[in-house]
Amino acid sequence: MVAGAGGLGSTVLNLLVRLGIGTIHFFEFAEIDLPDLNRQVLYNSENIGKPKCRIAFENLKKINPEVEIIAHCEKIIEKTEIPEVDLVFDCLDNFTSRYILDDLIYPKGIPMVHAGVSSYFGQLTVIIPGETECLRKVISVEAARFDEKINKKIFPPVVTTMASLQVSEGIKYLTGDFKNLLYGKILVIDLLSNSFDVINIK
């Protein structure tokens, strides 16, 4: 399942569909805006003002008609019923929504590939119930205050880079490669100085 079909989500969905991942659920409620087009690779200039959910679904089906895609044209809230899935990609754009998602899936034992981006920077970690703490504990921020201060200026290559890394970690999880999986650690990237650091976490 992919939560969000914006910057991270449109690349994650694109790659997953091309890889032929059997069934993909995704959630998205926003409409396409002109500034989205510098990084949201599922959309184009003809789609402005249209719902991302519908356009993403149509384009993804064209890429690979054999993949079953279920579009949920809604925001993830506390009451959202999360489908039975093997893995969730956190492609949301704020921590308030991320913690709601975390609260919905962690108790159900569903793992999550988290990523966040800002400016030239991004971080990524895999949350696995029973093996790691939940996202809320691994990356603890006061979500409401943090979200007010999010720097919305994003260097587009950092978004597609992080999304590709999310898919890479997702494949490792789905194929059982726990040796190389980024859990129990956070990858922090900085495309300005070209640094990729892995911080071990407890």
Binding site: G7, S118, K137, V159, K185, I199
Partner: protein, 93 residues
Amino acid sequence: MKINVKLFATLRLKLGVAGLEIETDKPVTIMQLLKLVSQKLNTDIIPELIEDGEIKVGTILLINGENIFHADKLETVITKECEVSVFPPSGGG
């Protein structure tokens, strides 16, 4: 003891340094450590990380990967060699 301080993302950008080593002969709190870092860098990093006596919203401090938010926050005491990571997470998507 040696404390290896690593800085990430916007902090690295602002301060122009990725990390540094602090040598101290007695236990220090995180607050004291940040003052030592400021002295060594000749730049007061406290305003970047602390607001009204608390860790600034959007800053994560880890001691050997353990978030001080779940310990004694700025009063968390470092008693042995360790790595302190200062990391402002990115929230966008």
